[in-house]
């Protein structure tokens, strides 16, 4: 579609990129149909096409963000279902990234919103702080209903609701060091420990480490690695996100130089989408562009990597698994078949819930910042999953696990936990006894 930027505006590389993205859009409207917020709210303004138009209008006019634009961009889950649907190849992800940076730089949010966002950005990416905060959250849980009565405080109520009932047990899965495989050595990889996942559910990376050790893969947990930056990236806090990215690029580059890496394994697809984008995020930083692109090239979801190892087919297990594809998995990374094929090969019966393209409403901090829409999407997701009559749910992202677990009694696990069990690991505690 037609764009209207001056040469001076186009001198800004962010604007120049957005202009190219906008030129691809032909305003056909296909994206509206698969957008979770449009399907829920029925308003063009809460659809990808509407947001593209709002962003276009704001950028073309060189305007600061205002309340109207912010409202609708904030409601975007960044699930990227629109990117999967778009026939024209509109790179909505980088357009909305740009819009979020623009909002962060030009718009002053109301006080409480600001405080909540600052709190999230200061706590979630840091495991020690997050662990402490969860302790407080357990104490504060009785106040959740009270908080939800005032609309500005609803995010705090949602936060308390999402905090796990009991603390996760201690684990050394995130302890730096090299895990030497039990026998032979067919590969060497680094694993991302991440920030929120080891606090909420250390069992995921424990299962990954066990499975890879049995498969003869040497795994490095590098010293100094931290949050991938996705969380603050989606808040438009570009500098903070780039700092996280640079730190991880440094850590992994050191490991690559030391002993070579076949892959950087990621067990949370939300992080995977961002790490695979490091090359793009740091493209304008001459000191990092090349290194970041190399890191992005090595980043692999655990199921992508396992698919290259030719795992043997196992006997059927008579366990029905509903596979929930996280948006960051299916839309962000376009990984659709690998997790299901691995589960099937491991003997599980895999069921696809209806409306699988729709987000569960987790979306990073979305379930905290947009609790109403998130709750509607969760209910719809749970309804679709429960209709499959599955025994357990498998997925590849900690955010979805937390979100969906808060809405159903069906146990939900990470795909790799089921695979670890099938290939000789301990039976996950969440699997129902029969």
């Amino acid at each position: 579609m037609q764009t209207n930027f001056t040469l001076a505006q186009l001198a800004d590389p962010h604007v120049a990129e957005s202009e190219q993205i906008l030129r691809r859009c032909v305003h056909c409207g296909f994206c509206t149909a698969t957008c979770p917020t449009y399907v829920t709210l029925g308003n063009e303004l809460d659809s990808p096409r509407g947001r593209i138009y709002l962003i276009k209008d704001m950028l073309e006019n060189g305007r600061a963000a205002d309340e109207e634009v912010v409202t609708h961009i904030d409601r975007c889950l960044s699930c990227l279902a629109c990117v999967t649907t778009c026939p024209s190849g509109v790179d909505y992800m980088h357009l909305v990234d740009h819009a979020r940076i623009h909002i962060e730089n030009t718009y002053r949010r109301p006080l409480i919103d600001r405080l909540i966002r600052n709190l999230l950005a200061a706590v979630l990416p840091y495991p020690a702080r997050f662990r402490t905060a969860l302790g407080f959250a357990r104490l504060g849980r009785p106040f959740a209903p009270l908080l939800k009565r005032a609309s500005a405080l609803r995010p705090l109520g949602a936060m308390l609701d999402l905090a796990p009932r009991s603390p996760a047990r201690a684990s050394d899965s995130a302890k730096p060091g090299t895990r030497i495989p039990e026998a032979g050595k067919r590969g060497r990889v680094a694993i991302l420990s991440g920030c929120a996942q080891p606090v909420l559910d250390p069992g995921i990376n424990e299962a990954t480490l066990r499975l890879l050790a049995r498969l003869g893969v040497e795994v490095v947990v590098p010293e100094g690695e931290g949050c991938c930056g996705a969380l603050v990236h989606h808040m438009g806090r570009e500098e903070q996100a780039l700092d996280f990215a640079r730190r991880n690029v440094d850590v992994w580059t050191r490991e690559i130089d030391k002993g070579g890496l076949d892959a950087i394994i990621i067990t949370a697809s939300g992080c995977g989408t961002t790490i695979k984008d490091y090359g793009h995020m740091l493209r304008l930083d001459p000191a990092y562009a090349e290194k970041a692109a190399r890191v992005s090239g090595l980043a692999k979801d655990i199921t992508e990597y396992l698919s290259t190892l030719d795992l043997p087919r196992l006997e059927p297990k008579r366990l029905n698994v509903a596979y929930h594809s996280a948006c960051s998995m299916q839309h962000g990374q376009k990984i659709t078949m690998a997790p299901k094929n691995l589960l099937k090969a491991a003997g599980f019966t895999v069921r696809d819930p209806g409306e699988g393209h729709l987000c569960c409403g987790s979306a990073g901090t979305y379930n905290i910042l947009q609790p109403e829409i998130s709750a509607q999407l969760k209910a719809r997701k749970v309804r679709n999953i429960e209709a499959t009559k599955a025994d357990v749910i498998a997925t590849g992202n900690i955010g979805c696990i937390t979100q969906i677990a808060s809405g159903t009694a069906i146990p939900i696990l990470h795909t790799v936990e089921l695979l670890d069990w099938a290939y000789g690991g301990p039976k996950p505690e969440k699997i129902p006894a029969r």
Binding site: Q2, T3, H27, C28, F30, A33, E44, H72, C86, S88
Partner: protein
């Protein structure tokens, strides 16, 4: 922005009362159902005919027929134009508003109200998407037949407004052949029902009149549509040809021999390349023209029909014949075809023509189309419903170059006139909208047009419903 096509001059009496109108609408609708902030109106300024844009006065997004009726009654009382909108996927500008108009969007009315297999009907709200109907009944072996390429997103209300077609309409007919009843809000807010669950209603066939009336006779809020049992099997087959002439002649021969496949779709080389790049459907890239022919029925029925078609194609020098080998492959073949317009956005901006011609003239019109586009120094991709002669030349241009855009529009007009002169019509399924409005006299005599306008006046005396569309702005009856 393109500016050849004019809009009606906004009504001063409406513009000057803007604040009061918005205050009144605020009383009629819940807050989440009204859009009026300047910034928020911008995304409603156009539809998929994106060359033309006009900001509306306000956007109403009602949730019930009663709310639609309340808005209509109010707008009628004060002479405020109303532009109905479904999903905003119109390729003819049917949902483009104007400065003095309230957009009436049905997107919040998207529920399926009742499925009645015994009567083979579904009763749905107008904002439900076309594909949602088929998805909802698919598990029980049924579907809703008309399948516009935008069926993923477009609404049944919009389909009724434009009497939409689609690839599978060759066998099953277009919207009007699959619509049994509507609930409709008249211009003054009166709610009427036309038709029902039966094939014919007593009295005049007003349903036939409403279907295709482009939102000018009333606002449809609910529809009863016919469901059809899914065939035992269905298989798209790809036929590649060295020239468009051969492919076109083959289509005419297939239909002329009495065979009615479910669909015969045509793509020329540029279209094949565009669609393959998006869908990876395995379209042959070494041919000049491709037909997607879908046969359906039992294995024996499909075999027999296919055999006859292959024989005819052989007489026209078919180069490759490839049957889809799996359901996944068949789905990809259709995904590529149905995404053709959007996928064109990967290489250029485009406007899409919709002329329909007699089958015997397909090759002639294709050749002439190329000549016209060449003369304007532009490129064209052809992807269309060949079985019913409904052509969709996509004229490629650069929207950031005003001269290029003007040339594209001019070339489009010549192509549409060519279709009419070849014995066809201006629009097969996209509707007249604003895009073809000023060509209506090329198709119709004054007497023809006057009769259509008299019908419109009978429903909407003051012409407030979608007023800038369908009929040339001059020569309208004085309001």
């Amino acid at each position: 922005m393109a500016d050849t096509i004019r809009f009606l001059k906004p009504r001063e009496a409406v513009l000057s009362r803007r604040a009061a109108i918005i205050a009144d609408l605020t009383d009629l609708l819940p807050p989440e159902c009204l859009v009026h902030e300047a910034r928020e109106l911008v995304p409603f300024e156009t539809d998929a005919f994106v060359s033309y844009r006009r900001l509306p006065l306000a956007v109403a997004l009602p949730k019930t027929t009663a709310q639609v009726a309340a808005v209509m009654k109010y707008c009628h009382r004060y002479g405020i134009p109303v532009v109905p909108r479904g999903a905003g996927t119109s390729l003819s500008g049917g949902a483009i508003p104007q400065e003095d108009a309230v957009v009436l969007g049905l997107s919040k009315m998207s529920r399926i109200l009742e499925v009645d297999y015994a009567n083979r009907t579904a009763t749905v709200q107008a904002g439900v998407t076309n594909l949602n109907i088929s998805e909802a009944v698919g598990i029980d072996g049924f579907f809703y037949a008309p399948d516009p390429s935008s069926q993923l997103a477009c609404t049944i209300g919009g389909n009724i407004g434009m009497n939409s077609g689609g690839a599978h309409c060759l066998k099953y007919g277009v919207t009007t052949n699959n619509l049994l009843g509507v609930k409709m809000v008249l211009v003054d807010g009166t709610v009427i029902e036309l038709g029902g669950k039966h094939l014919d209603a007593a009295g005049y066939d007003l349903l036939g009149l409403v279907c295709g009336s482009e939102g000018q006779l009333g606002i449809v809020t609910e529809a009863v549509v016919r469901l059809i049992a899914k065939p035992e099997g269905a298989r798209p087959v790809l036929f590649g040809f060295d020239t468009s002439e051969h492919a076109g002649a083959c289509v005419a021969d297939i239909i002329g021999s009495g065979i009615i496949p479910v669909a015969i779709e045509f793509m020329d080389k540029p279209a094949i390349e565009i669609c393959e790049a998006f869908a990876h459907a395995g379209y042959p890239l070494d041919v000049e023209a491709l037909l997607i022919v879908e046969v359906e029925g039992s294995e024996a029925e499909m075999e027999a029909m296919l055999k006859a078609i292959v024989e005819i194609a052989g007489r026209h020098g078919v180069k490759t014949v490839r049957e889809s080998q799996s359901a996944t492959e068949a789905a990809l073949i259709w995904k590529g075809r149905k995404s053709a317009f959007g996928a064109t956005g990967r290489i250029a901006d485009y406007i899409c023509m919709d002329g329909t011609v007699p089958l015997g003239k397909l090759s002639y019109v294709l050749n002439k189309t190329s000549e016209i586009v060449d003369r304007f120094g532009l490129r064209v991709a052809n992807v269309f419903h060949a079985g019913d002669g409904n052509m969709h030349p996509l004229i490629l241009f650069n929207a950031n170059d005003p001269e290029d855009a003007a040339r594209a529009e001019e070339a489009g007009n010549e192509i549409l006139k060519l279709c009419v002169d070849a014995g066809g019509c201006l629009t097969g399924e996209h509707g007249v909208g604003i895009e073809k409005r000023d060509l209506m006299r090329h198709q119709y005599s004054e007497a023809d047009l006057n009769q259509q306008m008299a019908v419109r006046s009978a429903f909407d005396e003051d012409w407030i419903l979608n007023p800038s569309k369908v009929f040339p702005l001059d020569g309208r009856p004085a309001a």
